[in-house]
Point group: C2
Chain length 451, copies 2
């Protein structure tokens, strides 16, 4: 057998970076199918253990890790190191002492690209021990750590489950413009865009468009960024976040929307438990709960509960983060699920298109609090043009300013409602993360515009 | 039996808009399961035929159409009309003369919301006879027409198939910021955002982020808007379009990317043919083709072909729309598929991160032309930091300006490549549409900022 060969690229345009013999590259996950035989692997050097005679190279790709061995002296002074990008040619054999049940005897290593000499951390590190700012600054490296990789793989799975659950319920995915001529909620907190010789804004919600979508297709959803020019830099807020927006027609009241969200989340959570239970268990004591039994409490009743049980006399028109935690605590005790829908917020604090709930000044709108954090706002919307006009006037807004939107209500608009889930917040609550920035590849806030 | 009842809402906040007796609303598609029995339907009045004694009301919801009947005199002067939103309670029975094999005897109709008296067209209209501007202006109504509804249901199916095909190939969906501090291609054609006290831009491509993603997760994709401040208003261009972005590591050359796209599109098209063949056949003579046999021609060879076959002596560094059509025509003759990958465009005309192809000034980048239109740009990217620095310098750009991006290439960057498909253009080519605006709910161009 020929001695193992190590090839390091010259520092120049790498025109041909492949090993020239043997088979196509295979994913590491499949190597056991090739016992005994030749395999070509490509990935990152994840761990490197050089003992007296033998060196162990753990190579990692998107499918798994492979234990590869080579005589230590063959490594010579090639300075192979962790995080280098490498191609390994070798023969695979069964090896019961290896985690994967097999091992690759290296016949050739080719370094496809060197990692730098001084990296801020290694991908085999416990990401928990690395600061959040550093993880964000070095996304390629942090994504290779198991913990951070898990977050974004789970987020992708969440997204896929969300869309899938809606597709199975007759919803149509829509794509709507994020460059708009005005706001859906009266014009504050909008980012301004220079649009040729005009001023435009970044959409703060697809609300109007999804309502138009309901009048056309009955059931629509969109997964997209929304933008809020709020000068926050808290652990809960972002200026750009990803909104899972749902809207559907022919509801009888906000309770239909609440019930729909219970079923939707239960469906998503069951799917995640089934496919990613092992990942979820790294982050939570239990798998994700069924949401079918989540309570729905009236806002006024919540205020009363907070007063009597937690001595909160400071709340009037809204809940604060502390109240959200307190209500989830109480809900957990009563229903076994640390989540609650709060329905009937004061109408005055909700956008003009919100339907009233009775005549006492309450709104047919709700928040879903999950593990102490608001992850959803939703409700029934007004669907009669004259009601919308009256709602605008009662807020001292001239209906003519919204005429192009109001005109859509003459085209056959069903009673409807919907909700929006913040993807980053939902990811946080599913994986028990503390800061919403942990669940965004590239967070944006008052101060952060890079990377 | 009591006489049928018709209820029309008062012009005020509609607090309780439901029929108070009988069953939950069911989707029209399922009515035959209820023969003989009571059903409650909700939808739009799609057609209305009032004969001497009998009136036929065709009600439509997101699942189908139902033929409902009522004595003409019972309609009285309630002025029920097409596009009104209605709830119908009635008993369903088998009726072989009806398209769906059953008919509903109406016992109660409740109008949930009146449509306006003068609508620009009806949802039962042939959308082809309505001008594109009108269809865009009245999206709720145009989405209810079969033809326009088909376009956006097909677009949603395309999106779902795209994501599904990638998920099955070990790709991870990523979400990256659209608010960026600079451009990926040198800074022209960017929309400027007022970001608190700073200037930011709308991302013209997720290119850098998806490359970082590859260094972390090996295979990534994103489906999202991208923005180009180009003063076009052509049938092919939009300032905001939806990009299906794919990037993956460990390629040997651009041919790997081409082959991957052949397989991906074939997979998507097969799925669409299978699930939506009846819709596709309304728009095309044949189902969508397999893309496995799509030719890949060198750019220089294409110029030569265009010269010799079409007398084109005016092309040098790029193709024009006419050349794209001519090449697809030629490809159709040679391969049976009106599509071709053109590989090896002049490097100078491609972004700095493009890998060269040989040393003759060609780029390892390609376009995919499909039925006469460019729907994809892709290729292999440079993955060595020193090559990127040299490429920047050769374009008189100081590498320090891109340092935060270049630093990511020290973290273990595999050889990689990818591509981006314009969703609107792909939708057009799948359904033989002539103007990209037909495939966008709310198009944006130099002049268009509403609705």
């Amino acid at each position: 057998m020929a001695p193992p060969q190590i090839v390091v690229p010259a520092n120049s345009v790498l025109r041909d970076c492949t090993v020239t013999t043997a088979a196509r590259r295979i994913f590491i996950e499949n190597i056991s199918e090739f016992i005994p035989g030749e395999v070509r692997l490509k990935g990152w050097i994840y761990r490197l253990r050089i003992l007296g005679k033998t060196a162990f190279v753990i190579l990692r790709d998107c499918s798994g890790e492979a234990q590869c061995v080579i005589a230590s002296e063959a490594l010579g002074d090639h300075k192979l190191k962790v995080e280098d990008v490498a191609e390994i040619l070798g023969s695979v054999r069964a090896e019961p002492r290896s985690k994967t049940g097999c091992e690759v005897d290296i016949s050739e290593i080719r370094v496809l690209n060197r990692a730098g000499q001084r990296l801020p951390f290694q991908s085999a590190a416990q990401a928990e021990s690395v600061g959040l700012e550093t993880l964000i600054q070095y996304r390629p490296l942090s994504l290779r750590t198991e913990a951070v990789g898990d977050i974004f793989r789970m987020q992708a799975a969440l997204l896929a489950s969300f869309r899938d659950a809606l597709n199975r319920r007759r919803f149509t995915e829509i794509v709507t413009s994020k460059i708009v001529s005005g706001g859906t909620e009266g014009g504050s907190n909008l980012f301004e865009i220079k649009y040729f010789d005009r001023v435009a804004y970044l959409a703060q919600s697809p609300q109007f468009y999804k309502e138009h979508g309901v009048a056309g297709l009955e059931r629509v959803y969109e997964t997209a960024h929304v933008y809020r020019a709020e000068p926050h830099a808290s652990s809960r807020h972002l200026t750009e976040y990803y909104s899972l927006d749902v809207e559907f027609g022919f509801i009888d009241g906000p309770e239909d929307v609440v019930q729909f969200e219970r079923e939707l989340l239960t469906d998503i959570f069951e799917n995640l438990n089934q496919k990613y239970g092992d990942v979820i268990k790294k982050y939570r004591a239990d798998l994700l709960p069924s949401m079918l039994g989540v309570a729905c409490w009236e806002f006024d009743a919540c205020l009363e509960m907070l007063r009597s049980e937690f001595g909160r006399t400071d709340l009037e028109d809204d809940l604060d983060p502390e109240a959200e935690r307190q209500l989830c605590q109480r809900a957990a005790r009563e229903t076994g699920i640390p989540a609650v829908f709060v329905l009937g917020f004061p109408l005055a604090a909700r956008p003009f298109y919100t339907a009233p709930r009775g005549s006492s000044g309450a709104a047919s709108s709700f928040d879903l609090l999950f593990q102490g954090l608001e992850i959803t706002t939703g409700g029934q919307r007004l669907h009669l043009r004259e009601d919308l006009e009256a709602a605008l006037r009662s807020r001292s807004i001239e209906p003519a300013n919204f005429e192009s939107h109001l005109a859509m209500f003459d085209l056959g608009m069903p009673p409807h409602g919907g909700f929006a889930i913040g993807l980053e917040r939902l990811t946080c609550q599913v994986l028990n993360l503390q800061n919403v920035r942990q669940a965004v590849l590239y967070p944006r806030d008052r101060y952060k515009l890079t990377p």
